[in-house]
């Protein structure tokens, strides 16, 4: 096992998959000569050349469509959005082309494409650069949505995403790129559509994904000091969402808290709560609570931003509430 940053884990995944299958190519802003806006694609241009690591003009809609068109005729594009905030412009291609093509064509054209980039807030990037997109994307049938929170998960899931013959939305995090973790040196993939119990416990289930999984783990550490054993579940894939793993846990602990980026209304947590109330109604001793971003565009000031985001303290408070400890 090597200790690798999340960024390098992604780089490894890209490199390995591009070596493995020459139909895979990377396209996006600054992915080539600049070595990647966040250095995720470092060294790839040198290794694979201009045709396979393509720098684009600032045209998200355009190059997202280019990716879909190329996928229609057999290539396997990895389209990078410098951040998912800019992908809003490209959503027409993601939704109306990529997601729906297979269905509209009666099964003739599947789109084996990956759209990836950093999602959600970083530090003081302000309102337009801090949005979390997972619930918009997870709403659409025809898409798969993945949000890894650790280097191990990032590499394994990106490899699977690239090999998947469907459009996969891959949500990374700027705050995650420097996070270090253990990554096997040998070949491995992580299957899409399966959640993981990252920590076992029997008092409460904390469900999370993406960069928030680290918040959940921190909260679990704090709770452990008070003798509260939290079970932490990392959803890993948001669509299709592995509700069975969640249900199995809640049936055991009888209470759940979701920690998510994104705002309250129709967030991923709302969907998790729906599954839990359906699957575990008779096992719930308390309502399911969610810890999410405050319902405001992200402010710039440091203290306000901190107050807007979910954190370990807020998670601990929610857990204590479902345990009826004040």
């Amino acid at each position: 096992m090597a200790i690798v940053t999340y960024r390098d884990a992604l780089n490894q995944a890209l490199r390995e998959e591009m070596q493995r299958d020459d139909r895979v190519f990377l396209m996006g802003e600054e992915v080539g000569i600049y070595q990647g806006a966040y250095k995720v694609s470092k060294g790839l241009l040198q290794e694979f050349g201009e045709m396979r690591v393509v720098d684009t003009p600032i045209t998200e809609l355009g190059f997202a469509g280019v990716g879909v068109g190329a996928a229609m005729v057999g290539l396997r594009p990895v389209i990078e959005f410098m951040t998912w905030n800019f992908a809003l412009l490209a959503l027409d291609q993601v939704v109306n082309s990529a997601a729906k093509m297979l269905y509209m064509s009666g099964g003739q054209f599947n789109i084996p494409i990956v759209f990836r980039g950093p999602n959600g807030a970083a530090l003081q990037l302000s309102a337009q650069h801090s949005q979390a997109w997972e619930s918009w994307l997870a709403h659409i049938p025809g898409l798969k949505v993945v949000a890894p929170g650790t280097p191990y998960d990032a590499k394994g899931l990106l490899k699977s995403a690239i090999r998947d013959d469907n459009p996969v939305m891959f949500l990374e995090g700027e705050m995650l790129y420097n996070v270090k973790g253990e990554v096997p040196e040998s070949e491995y993939t992580i299957p899409l559509g399966k959640a993981q119990v990252k920590r076992e416990g029997d008092h409460v289930t904390i469900i999370s994904y993406g960069k928030m999984i680290n918040v959940a783990q921190q909260a679990a550490d704090l709770l452990a000091k008070d003798g509260i054993r939290a079970e932490v579940i990392d959803l890993l894939t948001l669509r299709p969402l592995d509700s069975e793993t969640v249900a199995e846990s809640v049936r055991k602990t009888n209470r759940a808290v979701v920690v998510e980026e994104g705002w309250e209304i129709c967030g991923i947590g709302a969907q998790v709560v729906d599954y839990v109330q359906r699957d575990c109604f008779d096992d719930l001793d308390a309502p399911v609570l969610r810890v999410h971003q405050v319902d405001v565009p992200m402010p710039y000031a440091k203290n306000l931003e901190r107050a807007a985001k979910p954190d370990a303290q807020k998670t601990v408070a929610a857990v204590r509430q479902v345990l009826y400890l004040e």
Partner: protein, 412 residues
């Protein structure tokens, strides 16, 4: 203008009531029609409703107190209104209890609570898990005090209830179950009388005392009834009836043909009823109650089956309203399910008769000089001799036999 809240006669036979639970606190705003408290009558738990608006200025009884009908329980008045005059006339000072009656609004039930009693009338808030656990452990949610928000019964309340000792922990809003006040080390238990038990005791002692009762017992052959029942069941689930349902129909029909038995003794007259409203004795947790099947003689057997099931269920859930258990013209009691061959039931005054149905079973009988096995049931009729003579009763039993042994007669 102040409103006096008194103990009301919430059932026709009620003479006193027990205040189970206040729903409003002193200082709360009251609108006309608000539920002030839950009061246990002799039959069920009823809601005491405000008849005026204002502020609840005084609560004069504590949860658990028994007060006679007509006694002052509380006063509703304007915030600043002087109610001294009313209070002076009020009876005894409220019994001291653990319940914190304060003038500040306390929306949650206090942390340590007095023993609470069966709460059948109100709906206990509970988490789904608590409900499931209570059900599987045979706990009545109504007997528990919830420590969750809004009085929600949650898992720890169920867990605490399962243990017989009071928890010593500070937040032990340990739920207390109903009643047992342990005196000695375990040799015996004194169980205070609930209202229902008091009523049963009083009324049926009246029965056995002054009423000259005699008993008529007869065996009835159920061969035809068994066939009828089998045929009905074969027709589908909605026609699934029990022997008791068919017997109720037979007894009701016989009563319609014998108005002298379908009667009430009024002391200076006998009232013969033209409609048959048959009471059906149902065992409930600490006693019995008799919900009524109205016009039982005119109802189809399947309807009787449905109604009797429904009424029995509601009786056990303490959800009957007074109209459902008062006004019977006659009563049937069935202990067959307990394997009782025969028994004598005690008449419910002012009725003049009651029928005790034993177990249905296959027994050896003599038919045409040989031994045969027949399905039989034994029914005992208790008669108030003041209104029903021996021959009258016997003639009734003859009619009943004709109906039971030729159930087609139920249709004609």
């Amino acid at each position: 203008m102040a409103t006096k809240v008194t103990m009301e006669a919430l059932s026709p036979t009620m003479e006193e009531g027990r205040l189970v639970k206040w729903q409003k606190n002193e200082g709360d705003a009251i609108a006309k029609g608000d539920v002030l408290a839950e009061v246990e009558t002799d039959k069920a738990v009823m809601e005491l409703v405000a008849r005026g608006a204002g502020v609840l200025r005084a609560r004069l009884a504590a949860e658990g107190d028994t007060r006679p009908v007509g006694e002052l329980l509380a006063v509703i008045a304007e915030k600043d209104e002087n109610i001294d005059a009313i209070l002076k006339k009020a009876p005894a000072v409220p019994a001291s209890s653990a319940s914190s009656v304060s003038s500040t609004v306390v929306p949650q039930p206090p942390a340590s609570t007095p023993p609470s009693h069966p709460n059948g009338g109100g709906r206990a808030r509970s988490s789904p898990l608590a409900r499931r656990l209570a059900s599987s452990r045979g706990l009545d949610l109504g007997t528990l005090q919830g420590t969750g928000p809004g009085g929600r019964i949650i898992r720890r309340d169920i867990d605490a209830a399962a243990s017989t000792e009071l928890s010593g922990a500070p937040t032990a809003a340990a739920a207390r179950t109903a009643a047992p006040v342990v005196r000695a080390a375990g040799d015996s238990e004194d169980i205070p009388l609930t209202q229902i038990r008091k009523t049963i005791a009083r009324r049926l002692a009246e029965s056995n005392g002054p009423i000259p009762t005699f008993f008529l017992t007869a065996d009835f052959d159920l061969t035809s009834v068994r066939e009828l029942r089998a045929q009905m069941i074969a027709m589908g689930d909605e026609f699934k009836v029990s022997y008791n349902d068919i017997l109720i129909k037979a007894i009701a029909t016989a009563l319609s043909q014998h108005p002298e038995v379908n009667a009430h003794w009024l002391g200076d007259s006998i009232r013969r009823h033209h409609r048959v409203h048959l009471g059906m004795a149902v065992a409930v947790e600490d006693g019995l109650i008799t919900p009524i099947i109205t016009d039982a003689d005119t109802k189809r057997i399947s309807e009787i089956a449905r109604e009797s099931r429904e009424l029995a269920k509601r009786a056990r859930e303490r959800k009957l309203v007074p109209e459902e258990y008062t006004g019977a013209t006659c009563t049937v009691s069935n202990l067959g399910m307990f394997g009782i061959d025969e028994f004598t039931a005690i008449i419910n005054p002012p009725e003049v008769a009651i029928f005790a149905v034993g177990a249905v079973g296959d027994v050896p009988v003599v038919v045409d000089g040989t031994l045969a096995i027949r399905t039989r049931v034994r029914i005992t009729m208790s008669c108030d001799h003041r209104a029903v003579d021996g021959a009258t009763g016997a003639r009734f039993m003859q009619t009943l036999r004709r109906l039971i042994e030729n159930p087609l007669m139920l249709v004609f």
